[in-house]
């Protein structure tokens, strides 16, 4: 065996050993006549970084929308943490520990960075309106408690300097980072990232890659991410699933997928 083959085997074995966190079986989704996802099965394992790639319109974003309950697939079975899903709504996904970011940043533009991230903890704050009107006692206690957690995330993502800035005025790269911060504030078990590096320059991409690896490594968060930059995908991910025209055309560790003929064709636009 060559060295190359050896590392490939190792990577595969590591993936084998992990426990399944999210499992999709024969999932199909269509909008009227448009088939966005056709009969796709794949899983995400605990602790891994799973990349979803494919050409434009392949159905990647739709896949994330199905996972976090924004769309209801017409067919298929989805199992999260060993529990089969019946009907799904976004807030149920939040309760189960799934958080996400969006392809086109979806922040609360008129609010400060701090408030955006605090909003990520909305469902964890329970104090009644009465105490909040006094901003005293348990309400103040709760606010401070969550603020501490949020400050940890702010330090982690190095965005201290923009704490009080309304996010609408921030440059795109920083907005993406604030959005990641808001998702982290939800303390998710599974984090879905839709093109976290789109529109960034090289330096910003490197920063973001580092943050994603740190989140995975230090917080132990499982991550499923969509990304177009192949270099980034190969560096970051443990396993890759490739979609094209709503179908799955490949699934495996990066080295495997990279050399798959169908994938090469899809990206070069040959097979169609």
């Amino acid at each position: 065996m060559t060295v190359m083959e050896q590392t490939l085997e190792e990577a595969k074995k590591k993936a084998e050993e992990r426990e399944v966190l999210l499992d999709l079986e024969n999932v199909s989704l269509s909008f009227g006549g448009v088939k966005a996802i056709t009969n796709i099965s794949f899983n995400v394992k605990k602790g891994e970084i799973r990349a979803i790639i494919g050409p434009n319109g392949a159905g990647k974003t739709s896949m994330l929308n199905v996972i976090n309950g924004f769309y209801q697939p017409q067919e298929g079975v989805i199992t999260f943490n060993g529990k089969k899903r019946k009907s799904m709504k976004p807030h149920l996904a939040v309760d189960q520990g799934i958080a996400r970011t969006f392809q086109n940043v979806a922040l609360f533009k008129g609010m400060s960075t701090l408030d955006n991230i605090m909003a990520g903890r909305a469902t964890r704050m329970k104090q009644s309106m009465f105490w909040q009107m006094l901003y005293w006692g348990p309400a103040r206690q709760e606010e401070i408690e969550h603020r501490k957690k949020v400050e940890e995330i702010i330090d982690f993502l190095e965005i201290q300097h923009i704490r009080r800035t309304p996010v609408g005025t921030l440059p795109y790269g920083l907005q993406k980072r604030v959005e990641l911060a808001r998702a982290l504030a939800m303390e998710p078990e599974l984090l879905l990232l839709d093109e976290p590096m789109a529109g960034m320059n090289l330096e910003e991409k490197e920063d973001m890659s580092r943050f994603i690896l740190d989140v995975n490594d230090q917080l132990g968060t499982t991550i499923a991410l969509i990304e177009h930059d192949m270099g980034v995908v190969m560096d970051l991910s443990d396993r890759v699933v490739v979609l094209d025209y709503g179908r799955k055309i490949a699934d495996g560790v990066p080295e495997e997928v990279q050399s798959n003929q169908e994938v090469i064709d899809a990206y070069l636009g040959l097979s169609h």
């Binding site: 609360f108 008129g110 909003a119 901003y135 103040r140 808001r182």
Partner: protein
């Protein structure tokens, strides 16, 4: 120089989250409160109370209520006056059915009625947005005024069809009716407005405020961080209509002394929308600035010709008032949608860095 923040470092989140992290803000507030609670009552004439101070406070409160709904939660409403009417009529009925009840208790109770009606008319907001919601609230406005006219039980079957506030006292002090002193009424209104404003400053800077603003800025994203849109919108309708209802009851009980149904018609709804826009949507303090401008402008315009020795009729000045207010609205919508509150924020920022702008 006056707004020096150097040396005022925050070492704990507690102090960073304090209501007035900068000392100068606290001093300014103290000055305003001293003026409101001590200086004005000492010098103001009966006319000043009735034509300026009390109406400014009541309109500020109504605008604050509208601002919770429109400025913070992003739900457009053109039915504010109708909900003020619900508060006023509720207070009237409560005080007629329970004549022994303390009028302040009746006032705070009547807010629950306007809140309930507000939530009922807020239900369409779960399905419709923006322009269509505004039209739905306008419909509630027509319906409520019609109800105030037709449901004779509401005005105790008076021949006039109007409600008239009888003389009521609290521990022997006459607070409503024709014999109540304007100073006493002013203090009552001021006290209630202060309490509600304090509560709303707190509510809007905590979880409720963030939830409302999240729904306003991007409802899809709000849903995806786990915010229950229905709860968020309806809570905004409830809190907003509660405050608006109290403002309506204050208006009738502590200022006008009587009301006909058409008081709560569309013109007042628009007037309050104007105050909120000129003051600044999404701000608590802006409502007061907007109310000062809208209430004081016609009074000043009325006195102006006499002061300048000009012979211009008050009818003309009324037209001038309408024109000035109209231009201001357009100006603010185009130039500064965040209203007077933003101007103050900018001035404050300049003062903080002055005289070293870099």
């Amino acid at each position: 120089m006056f707004y020096r923040t150097s040396g005022q470092f925050k070492t704990t989140y507690e102090s960073d989250q304090a209501l007035f992290p900068i000392k100068q803000d606290m001093i300014l507030l103290a000055v305003i409160l001293a003026a409101m609670y001590v200086v004005f009552p000492m010098f103001a004439s009966e006319f000043t109370f009735k034509a300026l101070l009390v109406p400014v406070l009541i309109y500020s409160l109504a605008s604050l209520g509208l601002n919770i709904l429109t400025g913070f939660a992003g739900q457009l409403s053109l039915g504010t006056a109708g909900f003020m009417g619900v508060g006023a009529y509720a207070c009237y009925k409560i005080t007629s059915i329970f004549p022994e009840m303390n009028v302040v208790v009746a006032l705070f109770l009547s807010g629950f009625f306007s809140a309930a009606v507000g939530v009922a008319f807020g239900l369409p907001s779960l399905r419709i947005k923006g322009f269509y919601l505004a039209i739905a609230t306008l419909a509630s406005q027509f319906f409520l005024v019609w109800l105030f006219e037709k449901w004779a039980w509401l005005y105790n079957y008076n021949a006039s069809g109007a409600i008239e506030v009888r003389t009521m006292d609290i521990f022997g002090l006459v607070v409503t009716g024709p014999n109540a002193s304007p100073v006493v009424q002013y203090y009552f209104v001021l006290g209630i407005v202060s309490v509600v404003t304090f509560a709303m400053i707190n509510l809007t800077r905590g979880r409720y405020g963030r939830t409302w603003k999240a729904v306003r800025d991007m409802d899809i994203a709000a849903e995806l961080v786990g915010i229950n849109l229905m709860r968020a919108k309806l809570s905004a309708f409830a809190v907003s209509s509660y405050i608006v209802g109290i403002a309506g009851a204050l208006m009738v009980f502590f200022w006008k002394g009587a009301a006909e149904p058409n008081l709560f018609d569309i013109p007042m709804s628009f007037q309050i929308v104007f105050i909120a826009i000129i003051g600044g949507l999404g701000s608590v303090m802006g409502n007061f600035l907007g109310a000062i401008l809208i209430v004081a402008l016609p009074v000043v315009l009325n006195l102006l010709p006499g002061m300048l020795g000009l012979n211009i009729g008050s009818a003309t000045m009324e037209h001038v008032n309408v024109m000035v207010v109209g231009s201001l609205i357009i100006l603010f919508l185009i130039v500064e949608p965040h209203g007077l509150a933003r101007f103050w924020a900018l001035i404050r920022e300049k003062l903080i860095i002055w005289p070293f702008p870099h």
